[in-house]
Amino acid sequence: MIRLIHAEFVKVRTTQVWFWLLLATIVVSGLLVVAQVAPSDGIRHPDEVPDLFAAFAATPAYLLVFVLGVLGVTTEFRYQTITPTLLQTPSRWALVTAKMITYAILGALYALVALVVEAVVGVPWLSSKYSLHVHWGNSEVQRAIWGTFAIIALFGIIGLGIGALLKNQVVAVVVGILFLAVLENVLVAIPVVKHVFPYTPNGAVQAVLTTHGSRTVNGIDLLSAGGGIVVLLLWAFIPAILGAAVTLNRDIT
């Protein structure tokens, strides 16, 4: 398994996608800090300080890591490298497990980069301009940081699972982005249907990261933080398992 994970890292390292998505992560994290701090209704109260660190996972910025995960499988189909990959690793379970671990680690690394950018840009800004100081030991700050690690790592796996399930790069990216960034926001406005929101990825993310204020969205109660993690785990594992058991087992011709 260590070998397979190593091979997956070599695959990532030897193409350029990781670099462009990392660059985007740095830029987007910086912009998120500006969006959180600069406006007049930005972070002004000590209770709101954890929002600085929750921003990357709480907004569609997580799509960057989702896309990284999607490409982790669909590129193999696009360029038919799936053939040599499966020749080397005939077990679809072993392959998908190795990819899940790899992309969870990659997701955590991107989360780390985002958090570092948020800290480097946001912390001095808040402290110098608004005299808001970050208390690293504060449980809400800790929750935002660890929640970001967990959520972004899981979005790496969610992307991977959707990629494994759909195989087609364009379809998987478009479906994923439409669902996560558009459809869920529409869904929460529709009566009756909106009750499924807590069980969607965004509903689960909010359940994990909401540290202050209302825990309802449009009158729908969010799950507990733990419940949110469980929902995200299901979103991560079910498509990946289906991908390994069904899609990747289909004939590769």
Partner: protein, 332 residues
Amino acid sequence: MAAPHVTTPPAAAQGGRIVVEDLSKVFGGSVRAVDRLSFTVEPGSVTGFLGPNGAGKTTTLRMLLGLVRPTSGRATIGGRVYRHLASPTRTVGAALEASSFHPARTARNHLRVMCAAGGLPAARADQVLAMVGLEGAARRKVRGYSMGMRQRLGLAAALVGDPRVVILDEPANGLDPEGIRWLRGLLRHLADEGRTVLISSHQLNEVQEVADRVVILNRGQLVQQGSIAELTAGSGSVLVRSPAVDTLITVLQEQGLSGDRPDATSLRVRNATAAQIGHAAFVAGVELHELTEQRFDLEDLFFALTQQVPGAYAAAPPQLPPQAGYPTGGPR
């Protein structure tokens, strides 16, 4: 060309036998691509896997390699189905098509991925690149590679694990005459080391030059398998042209020889030598205008078995004399 240094004990060579048993594949419920196919491929030899386009060659190879699930039957390598091999990279090296590379990855990095997955040292990538003559292009992205370079890279990928079984689908495609000559030498070398070498091809002349055995497939079914010598033995004929064909027929019949008559002035005599016929004609005083031994070659056998006329076989190159621009790899 640097030769891979390998010591393959006889016991390990035995583990390299490919056995296809009663293998069938039905696509979409109705298309029977492979139909109850059985054959074996022995270690220490080069086996050509032949058949017209659509005969089921690639589907068979993909079933053998665990990429396509058989509808029934099984294919094993050293007694195991591919998915159950303990270390596939070190056991079987396969090159199926020349396009399975990420265009933005370099040749070296493509092989390094394989080294990582197969638990091989990364330096092995450079070794096999040198073996296939790509060391100069190792750090170039595959995007800029020619067809021939991709074939060589595919071959390098197949050899990276120093496997005892080598399976190549159309390895000569895109190679220039020099490359084909080199490939032939390499395949011979691999087989002589005790490895099992299975190559599919539509270039019958190429296969005849290098293969010891052939497995011929048509419409998903086995048509013939065996050594080339066995399959073509006793099937030679002699073309005789004479103004007195009728007299000649009588003379030959007395000698117990038979054949057919393609046109008014010629005969094709089976199982005879030119000397035999020339002598009989001379003794009987029959004038001869032509006396040509015709070797029944793989291409004739192939068309005879697959019921196709040569002209209909679009992919086959025009018949060239073996030495015309394609130097042979040695006496066979």
